[in-house]
């Protein structure tokens, strides 16, 4: 296939971003060696009371939630027929695919014997476990995302017939994606339904799976907006006219959708609070923290999104997207780390070590490098001239 | 706080609180009173004194204010008034004076208090059912022997009259009738005498006494519920050949009671040395340890010495070898009880009925008794002080 020469930019290799990425990758490689030769205790602060740290709290929980843009965008475009969002689908699918791939990569660091990760799926199925549900769905969804992503690769590689076949599967894959996402996004929350005695009552609820699923929707939408703004800044030269023309509509549409979903989320959170009659906890320290999360990082951004949409203020919406993404991270951290084991004395609580944080950054850095490679070489932010007409 | 005999006597003998009324020759009228409904005032009625709580209940009633109100008012006001006169030292005028156990310790206690005179009997022949029969003109039935109650002795051993007379100074059967009455909250006389959980009943109070350190070694390990014929006879001790010999007249009954009490001779209990082996070798754990030389006679002598300090103890252990049952439980009173291993299997226990194996039985009794009787050496965990480690 022919490529438009203008898409490949000739940029200097040594930029501040590249240097930072390079350092993180180098440290990550060293830590990888340490982790797999010395065991978890060498690089993590995990202990018997706190078996899950930020590799689960950030890499798994946040990773999966923030990669939800894949199913939200593709279902909006293909199932709900909102064709004007089409140019957002490919970047969203790519980031979702990368996100899930990195989640799985991170799990290899976290679990004791990563080479056995296929065991629960192929060897012995612990069907009573919500983690099994998560594992199976993530595995299947990663496959789905991979297949959804292949058209872009095939266009790049020049396999029009294969691409044709996959494109025909689009609707099936999208529906499958929504089903699998619903299941594993919610069951990530449901993982914690087994520990009413360890998770603070303000965060523990029978509705945990619902909270996780609904929050994944606006997490996904906000992440698409956030990535979009980053891509506009750093990858502007890779975008075609369609992408640029549609982007404003996408920002407004997604901002509005996120605002509505977040309002609904706040409502069911309040319902959950009432069902368990946990109001009195609001007047404790944890209560203040809970309100900060719910009001400061969900209700307020929802409101600001609404304002941004009304005033057609693209920048405001994009900034709110970052705010919302931080709120999701805060929520996942609260459930997995801060409100978890809340009854333990502070000496027995967990705080991540620098090496754990470095590994998490390492995995994010890998994501950025691959994203840059793919968007540079494959038709993600623009339509391939040979496949223009059909979608 | 407890207003005991000592405090009562100090108030009785205090010159400062002698009532102004000339006709009263003692202090009683200063506190004790009855309420004259017609005159709408309180008046002192000699011979009707009783505890404050008999009328002033825990909460306000139509008849009288709560005991909390009246004590704070009457006691405190009197103390303050006397304090104002600056004649002598007075009782507490601050909260801690009555409500702190620390402060209570500093209050002077008078050991030999003259007997309170309230026309109470010295000795009582408790035979309510038989007296009822006589009153109804029937032949009394010799169901169970009457009890002789040494009222005078119990006055000295108890701190206040309320220990037994919890609601009035009348005799027990006035409220607790044989068939139960509203006055006695439908608690029958039998219950009132034998209720194990109630410190106001005979049995209940005696059971409390078994918790004293000198008694607890054996009695803590015994089932507190079990009462056998032998136990009944300890109190139901008036032996009459037949019911016709029962004196119908109350003076004769009192005479009978006095003579029975006079006949109670309680010399120190002592067992024949021949019957008490000097040492017993115990080698249950011969696999790991040398046999333990159990100083059997030393233990018996110690127990007897502690027992003989206590009148109640002597009274209830007057049967030969009754004290042996502390360890040789479930055995008849004999100098040759069966060996422990007869019932306690030497084989490792597999709980079928909860009966301990031999090792558990020995350790349970030895360590349990040492623990209860405050014998600190050897410590429960100092294995080799009882049985030397096998070399």
């Amino acid at each position: 296939m022919m490529e438009r020469p203008s898409r490949i930019s000739i940029k200097p290799m040594i930029t501040p971003i590249n240097v930072v990425l390079g350092i993180i990758l180098a440290i990550g490689c060293v830590l990888t060696v340490l982790r797999f030769t010395g065991g978890l205790s060498v690089v993590t602060n995990l202990d018997d009371n706190n078996p899950w740290g930020i590799w689960i709290g950030f890499d798994l929980l946040c990773g999966v939630a923030l990669a939800a843009g894949g199913y939200t965008t593709s279902s909006a475009c293909y199932i709900f027929g909102l064709k004007r969002y089409h140019s957002a689908v490919r970047p969203a699918i790519l980031t979702a695919f990368l996100g899930y791939a990195l989640v799985v990569l991170a799990l290899h660091y976290d679990v004791g014997r990563p080479w056995r990760l296929p065991f629960p799926i192929f060897w012995q199925q612990g069907t009573t476990s919500l983690l099994f549900e998560v594992g199976l769905c993530v595995f299947l969804y990663l496959t789905v995302l991979f297949v959804e992503f292949t058209p872009a690769a095939f266009e790049w590689l020049g396999f029009p017939k294969l691409r044709e076949k996959i494109v025909k599967l689009t609707i099936l894959l999208t529906i499958l994606g929504v089903v699998l996402s619903t299941l594993h996004q919610s069951s990530l929350g449901a993982l914690y339904t087994i520990v009413p005695s360890k998770l603070h009552p303000l965060w523990y609820s029978g509705y945990l799976p619902v909270y996780f699923f609904i929050s994944s929707m606006f997490a996904g939408l906000s992440m698409v907006l956030f990535e979009g703004s980053l891509a506009h800044k750093y990858m502007h030269d890779k975008m075609d006219e369609t992408h640029l023309r549609e982007s404003e509509g996408i920002v407004l549409g997604f901002g509005k959708a996120a605002s509505f979903i977040m309002a609904g989320y706040v409502a069911i959170k309040v319902i959950g609070l009432s069902v368990d009659n946990n109001w009195h906890y609001l007047f404790t320290g944890y209560g203040a923290w809970f309100l900060l999360e719910l009001i400061g990082f969900v209700a307020l951004p929802a409101f600001v999104y609404a304002i941004g949409v009304r005033e057609k203020n693209i920048r405001l919406i994009q900034r709110t997207a970052v705010w919302t993404v931080l709120g999701i991270i805060l929520n996942r951290f609260n459930i997995s780390l801060i409100a978890f084991n809340w009854h333990l004395p502070s000496a027995e609580r967990y705080f991540p070590g620098w090496m754990e944080i470095a590994v998490s950054l390492f995995i994010v850095a890998i994501g950025i490098v691959i994203y840059r490679f793919v968007t540079t070489h494959m038709p993600i932010l623009y339509e391939h001239p040979d496949y223009r007409s059909d979608h | 706080m407890a207003f005991d005999k000592s405090l009562h006597y100090r108030h009785v003998s205090a010159e400062a609180i002698r009532p102004i009324e000339k006709d009263q020759k003692d202090n009683c009228g200063a506190c004790h009173h009855e309420y004259d409904k017609k005159a709408r005032k309180t008046v002192y009625v000699p011979g009707k004194e009783g505890a404050c709580q008999y009328c002033h209940l825990k909460t306000d009633t139509k008849e009288a204010r709560s005991v909390q109100t009246v004590t704070h008012e009457s006691c405190l006001n009197c103390h303050l008034a006397i304090k104002a006169k600056k004649v002598i030292k007075t009782g507490p005028t601050v909260c801690e004076g009555c409500h702190s156990s620390e402060f209570q310790k500093s209050i002077k206690v008078i050991d030999s208090v003259p007997r309170i005179q309230r026309k109470q009997p010295d000795a009582v022949l408790m035979a309510t059912a038989m007296n009822q029969a006589i009153a109804a003109g029937k032949e009394p039935l010799m169901g169970i022997s009457p009890v002789v109650f040494d009222h005078k002795m119990h006055e000295t051993s108890e701190k206040t009259c309320q220990s037994c007379h919890h609601a009035s100074l009348e005799k027990c059967s006035a409220c607790h009738t044989t068939t139960g009455d509203k006055k006695g909250d439908f608690i029958t006389l039998e219950k009132a005498m034998h209720a194990l959980r109630d410190t106001q009943s005979c049995v209940g109070c005696h059971a409390q006494a078994q918790k004293k350190q000198d008694c607890a070694g054996c009695h803590t390990q015994m089932t507190s519920k079990k009462m056998d014929q032998q136990a009944c006879k300890s109190c139901h001790s008036i032996e009459l050949a037949d019911a016709k010999r029962f004196p119908a007249k109350s003076e004769d009954q009192v005479k009978l009671a006095h003579s029975a009490i006079a006949g109670r001779k309680m010399p120190p209990i002592a067992y024949d040395k021949k019957d008490i082996p000097e040492k017993v070798a115990i080698d249950v754990m011969k696999k790991d340890y040398e046999a333990a030389a159990f100083p059997h006679r030393k233990v018996v002598d110690t127990l007897l010495a502690r027992l003989n300090k206590d009148t109640m103890g002597k009274y209830f252990h007057k049967d030969m070898y009754s004290m042996c049952q502390g360890c040789h439980h479930n055995s008849p009173m004999t100098a040759t009880p069966p060996k422990c291993v007869t019932c306690h299997s030497i084989a490792p226990q597999k709980a079928s009925n909860g009966r301990p194996g031999l090792k558990g039985a020995y350790h349970g009794q030895c360590i349990g008794c040492h623990d209860q009787m405050g014998i600190e050496k050897p410590a429960a965990t100092a294995c080799i002080e009882c049985h030397k480690k096998k070399s």
Binding site: S41, G126, L131, L183 | -
Partner: protein
Amino acid sequence: MGISRRKFLGWFGGLSATAATAASTAIAGGNHHFEGHPDTMGVLHDINRCIGCRKCEEACNTVNELPKPEKPFDDLSVLDQKRRTHADVYTVVNQFKIGNEKKHVHVKKQCNHCMEPACASACFVKAFKKMPNGSVVYDESVCVGCRYCMIACPFNIPAYEYDNAFSPKVTKCTLCYPRVQKGLLPGCVEACPKEALIYGNRKELIKIARERINKHPDQYIDHIYGEHEMGGTSWLYISGTPFSEIGMREDLGVTSAPELTSGPLSAVPIVVGLWPVLLTGIYAISKRKDKVAEEEKAEAVKAAENAADEEMKKQIAKIKQDAAKDKEAAIKREVKNALDEAAKEAEEKAKAAAELTETADAAPEKKEDE
């Protein structure tokens, strides 16, 4: 565990061939109620009887062939610190001082062998199993090391070999499964000098515990810890001190772990069954909507085109007519005014009109604008 509740993932049959096995057990699960294995054994720990000698710890260490600790087992200073189970410590005795009393209370801690274990319910590779004799045993050969069992355990018992890089295990008390199979007592029970631990049928143990409480109501709290906690445990405890004061949580509730997660799990078939149908429906509706919209659009365009065509024809005709008229008029005028030249000019004019018609054919809109 969980025979009572292996119900849900049969629905995955269509998604994954591996779920076929789950489907068969799902049917077997049905509506019957599983009350636990009748022969479930357990241990009754009478906390009042424990003297804190650590003989049980020593025995546990020996029978499980664990590494010897730094301080020997007869060093009781270890009790000064509150401890928990670790990778090479399956049981610990903790010491508690109650109020101002001189005496200490000692409590042994180890896996409670739940009737419906949280660890087994949480394990996604079925590494934990509740055996008919009550033991909850662990199969190292399948364990992935995700440590969700440790998250799930309400008693904080399973420990992990964090410093083992190649074959890290989860470790915990097995209720001496191998010894019990041989007819021996669990190591700790056998070693206890005070019989503060007794091993037996769980139902019998409950009776014994009740009897002790009834016989000595002043010496025991009227509660058997483990009879109902988290759905019941094989280990049972009685004590004279409130359990919450001796490191045993009384706020765990009586709901077993599998029950806690059954709600979310039962949502799986709903999602799997409902979503695809619903989403296909929505897709069909939105597609149909698009199609209708497209058809309407096409029609409108066609109509507009047709209208434009007719207008054009009219105009062309008009232009031609005008041109002809002009021509005639010109000829008339020229005939009147001039002779040969005038005739030539008239011919040229007609030519220009014809050209104009051609342009009008090519771009009628332009013409319209004009």
